[in-house]
């Protein structure tokens, strides 16, 4: 039991259960399985994005350009769909993944080949990708009436009683779980985060692995681009503005250490769910949506404080020993 309680995921899952229980005292229908499935569906995009961000953060990097990538890719597929409604949706999704991959690869190349810190690279591409969206669209919006019914309907279609969007999220979660726990790539990603120098000696190509990680987060951003646009049925330059920090917040609440090396697929999913439940529940229990930011901000701070022990820098521990001696 003690060993079980050590896992952050269990604490987080418990916190989510308590949260749902609290909400259902005010609004009993919230805990209804149908509604919970709805909340999962609403949170799917954030979960997918958080997983993409997680692999980047695990390698001690960060990708601030994900939301801009989402915006750009979303605009590309929306414009393609408006101009050529005949393009089948699976092909559009492949295009979205490819466009996202290219944007991610640009980040990755700059980090790998020029060795610029990722926070600087993605701070630059954050503004570049969003600006590029404006150049591409000329500032125009793509509205719902220009999108084909398939484009909008695909992710809403139910398969075995669950919307396709939820299935995509489940598929992505499963894929990440396998990669992170069962492949050499997953082990390399953790190794780099724990100790980059030792990883080099162990034969891991740190630069190349970081490149791959940015390609992954880029593809995830692209996939989320299609999903976001077809869900909210409007493509504009403003789409997901500032959302990069929500994605990082979901990771942080999920126990992924910003210092790298610590975190799990389950944590990222639960972190995103936690934020998703808060944003879904507030209107339901008659709390003004204006409270949402303050509540999620407090949740982030609380999560970090609770997680503080694992995050403390080693230098301080050495110091405390030295002081005690």
């Amino acid at each position: 039991m003690k060993a079980l309680l050590k896992f952050r995921e269990i604490w987080l899952a418990a916190a989510i259960v308590v949260l749902i229980a609290l909400i259902s005292t005010r609004f009993p229908a919230f805990a209804d399985p149908g509604n919970l499935a709805q909340v999962f569906n609403d949170t799917s995009i954030l979960m997918i994005l958080a997983l993409g961000q997680m692999v980047v953060i695990l390698t001690r990097s960060i990708d601030l350009s994900m939301a801009s990538n989402l915006c750009f890719t979303g605009m590309v597929v929306a414009m393609l769909n408006a101009a050529h409604p005949a393009i089948p949706i699976p092909l559009l999704i492949v295009i979205a993944l490819a466009v996202g991959l290219v944007l991610g690869a640009i980040n990755g190349l700059l980090v790998w080949r020029l060795n610029i810190p990722s926070i600087v690279v993605t701070l630059g591409t954050l503004t570049i990708y969003r600006g590029a969206t404006f150049v591409l669209s000329g500032g125009a919006w793509v509205n719902a009436d220009k999108m084909s019914p398939d484009f909008i309907g695909f992710q809403r279609a139910a398969f075995l009683g669950i919307p396709v969007l939820s299935w995509i999220a489940i598929l992505v979660i499963a894929l990440f779980f396998v990669v992170m726990t069962r492949t050499a790539l997953g082990r390399s990603i953790y190794a780099i985060g724990v100790n980059p120098t030792a990883s080099v000696y162990a034969g891991i190509d740190v630069g190349r692995t970081k490149f791959i990680v940015f390609c992954i987060s880029g593809m995830i951003g692209g996939l989320a681009g299609y999903l976001w646009i077809s869900r909210y049925v409007i493509a504009s330059v403003e789409v997901a503005n500032g959302y990069e920090l929500n994605i990082i917040a979901a990771c942080v609440i999920g126990g992924i250490s910003i210092a790298g090396g610590i975190g799990s697929v389950g944590g990222a999913v639960l972190g995103a769910l936690f934020l998703g439940i808060i944003s879904n529940a507030l209107p339901v229990i008659n709390i003004s949506p204006f409270w949402q930011m303050a509540i999620s901000g407090s949740a982030i701070i609380l999560a970090v404080v609770l997680n503080a022990r694992g995050e403390r820098q080693q230098g301080r521990i050495i110091l405390r020993k030295a002081e005690a001696a």
């Binding site: 990097s61 701070l123 570049i128 500032g139 500032g242 303050a294 407090s298 503080a308 995050e311």
Partner: protein, 331 residues
Amino acid sequence: MTDTPAPRHIPDRLDKPLSSAIFSWEALLVVVAVAIFAINSFASPYFLDAYSLSDLTFNFTEKGLIAFAMALLIISGEIDLSVAAIIALASTMMGMAVQAGADTPVLVAIGIVVGLGCGAFNGLLVTRLGLPSIVVTIGTMSLFRGIAFIILGDQAYKGYPESFAFLGQGYVWWVVSFELVLFLIAAVAYWFLLHRTSFGRRVFATGNNPVAAQFSGVRVGRIKFILFCLTGLMAGIASVLITSRLGSTRPSIAQGYELEVITMVVLGGVSILGGSGSIVGVVLAAFIMGLVTFGLGLLNVPGIVMSIFIGLLLIFVIALPIIWRRLRGNS
């Protein structure tokens, strides 16, 4: 910070930007600034006009004021993503005070105190609990702006007194704005603080190696706490100026400023990994960003497209010394 020094197979770091490669980072920035200035004056006949040049300063003074304190904070190895949210919260508090009939001195005091308070809150969380600042300030960013949203909802506060308008709109001497004077005074003050005092040396020491600094008698925690307070204070001052310039408060005020301030600092040659940087570089970077946005504005380039240029400039300037060193190394 999230990025650590790269492992051995990649020896280059951004600590010593150009000194060993081409010439100093500041000299490079001067060249970039002169180039953009020349392009601007060719591109638009209205550019070389005293009034338009003074308008130009409003493009960077407010963010530049925060950038000075942020530069020290980043040199010490921390970061503050909540500065824009502090502006929103301080502006909201000033708006509430105006509704209650407060006058200009009270409003300025409120801006400063709220900014300082928010900075101290960040500093306490980071130093007392030993939390990573990037995460803490993502949290307080939502928290501070969230409080502004709770108070304001979808409303705006207006009705600021006329004397208050001088701070963000007034001119001290002909075309020299009050904001520019503040910017220059702050530049000198921060230059002195960072490069001429023992406090400044301790800031560098903290960023270079916090453990060694602690053993050398530097109170690392206290230094960082002071720097968070300073950053909050500057955000509070910026809030007074922005609120005065706009004459109204909305909860969405200054959205996205945090990234622009950090871009300014990094463009100024401050290593995002901590330990190196100069105030002269930040002043030049602020001026360059002002030139770019103003010049493109004269050419009717929309703001979102300007951001492409800022982003490209950031990556290009940072990459330049690295590419240069590679080329020299190969020949």
